[in-house]
Symmetry: C2
Subunit: 360 residues, 2 copies
Amino acid sequence: MRSLNFSAGPAQLPLPVLEQLRDELLDWRGTGASVAELSHRGKPFMALAEEIEADARRLLAVPDSHAILFLSGGATTQQALIPMNLCAAGETADYLVTGHWSKVAIKQASAVCAVHTVASAEDDGFLRLPEKSQWTHTKGAAYFHVTGNETIHGVELFNLPEATQAPLVVDLSSNIASRPTDFSKIGLAYAGAQKNLGPSGITLTIVSRELLAREGMQRPDIFKFASHAAQGSMLNTPPTLNWYILGLCIRWMLGEGGTAAFEARNLAKSSLLYATIDQSAGFYTNSVAADCRSRMNIPFVLHDAALDAVFLEESERAGMIGLKGHKALGGMRASLYNAIALKDIEALCAFMRDFQMRHG
Amino acid sequence: MRSLNFSAGPAQLPLPVLEQLRDELLDWRGTGASVAELSHRGKPFMALAEEIEADARRLLAVPDSHAILFLSGGATTQQALIPMNLCAAGETADYLVTGHWSKVAIKQASAVCAVHTVASAEDDGFLRLPEKSQWTHTKGAAYFHVTGNETIHGVELFNLPEATQAPLVVDLSSNIASRPTDFSKIGLAYAGAQKNLGPSGITLTIVSRELLAREGMQRPDIFKFASHAAQGSMLNTPPTLNWYILGLCIRWMLGEGGTAAFEARNLAKSSLLYATIDQSAGFYTNSVAADCRSRMNIPFVLHDAALDAVFLEESERAGMIGLKGHKALGGMRASLYNAIALKDIEALCAFMRDFQMRHG
């Protein structure tokens, strides 16, 4: 039996995607081989890559002004590559700090460029966004980096900042394709696939051709976004199986109505879970400010931490996995990515109410 | 029906591996989820990673003096990271040039360190190894890089050079696990999995702990081998599905008798194909010197290039794919990695003899 999987990533995949993958695993499209066994330079895979690019562009409404790169590795690698590609030597990059992942982005960047913190919500325990009146920008910053959704702290940036003179760079790892995004206002966005769009091991980087033309720093060719773009993301052997599964997920999302349909679902799912938490009379708590409560990752604590192990054990027995909170915060966390259905959240909330009745 | 797949990589996977992957795709080890859907920090995947590390260490006979890293991306990324990790600013790295991939390694490295070419076989069309008496080494070089097997030119280095004062760095991308290797003589070896060991998107880097302790250059944490080693290759979200399939391939190889058994098979397979080529009275030609003819990748040309398209069309009709040569050399290329059986090569040779009779 399939579990209800609330893992923060790698995360649940849509069942039709897994079934198609399974059914095609010995013979894909009549090639007599798994898609994982085919040359990326051969016609079947080249055609697939083109299809996926077109589907991704349609799903995400990416304008022609932007390239879509399909890169190996995860978001952390992108966090190292972004300053190498967008900063010239001596330039400064601006970062808004809204949680753990903003800090990881700064950690990677500060090895190669000067970093300025525009504002940080750390003193508030990352329970709210930094007060906008207190943001300070660097004049002439190479770019302005924000984290679209903080997976650990459960803080989401629903309104991207207006571009300053510096182009906006956005980590969309945990909320890409969860709702419509206006990419024309973004210089570069990146997202590991393993939350809303597929398995780990492949990352989407959506970058304006204007930024691609930047010289950046001296670096190996394999670290140049422009070289990957010029070769259709086949500068070297790409992660073909991951790319294929990503493509299946994108097509599944298109068939389900696209990002607008998923926004409605994700709003319904997260509203239901927040309501269950808020109406528990303090048995469950989520302290994030209402205007930035994430629709993707909902951390919550039980009123008595001694119940944590019981909650995890009982939920697992009820067929629910991946609810253990990140070690930085403890407690629980439910991740509600695109492959999670409203009925899965209904089941989780019913379990939570039942658990409260029995242990409250 | 399954094709006979002679692709240079991504390449054929063992059928039992694909079947197991297929059968476990909706529910792996009773978790109610695909292995691709599980958190890499959860117990089931952590246990799997430990099993694979132990299996890889056993299969490849890696001594305790060396760490095994499972990294995302391919060999080209390693070619950029190696000088960043092993060279201090201003140091020189030595490279032996035996074909296309040696040159790619130099291209990546020379963006970050000084590179010295120990010797090159380019003037000989890469048909033989550079004459050893003419090798020149840099005194105090940070390392000495060689390419274990040249996938495009079909040139294999069967005897690794004795270490000079500089530790040996070896690209084993296309011949790892094809025969026993003495890792105690190697400072660092790296190999994308997509030829002998699994799907693309994951790379094995086997590195001595002595080299791990080198300071290297200023670089982002995600580019530090030592950081990956300290975190058991889970510094960030790893490519879990690829890691799992790699593990299945390693276990399959252990069950088949390990690297010694595969050396015998690969010797038999390649000898048969070279004999078929050499006994074709010039209908088929491979011009690589006998002492470095690759057991993994065998490029050959037909005496009349006008027959190339016919050969490809007829072989494909006979259920054989991936025989088109690399564009740099034209002609044909058969890759004979571990998942290819002797009977597959017998079938290929029978086809080639038949083709010659009909078109000779």
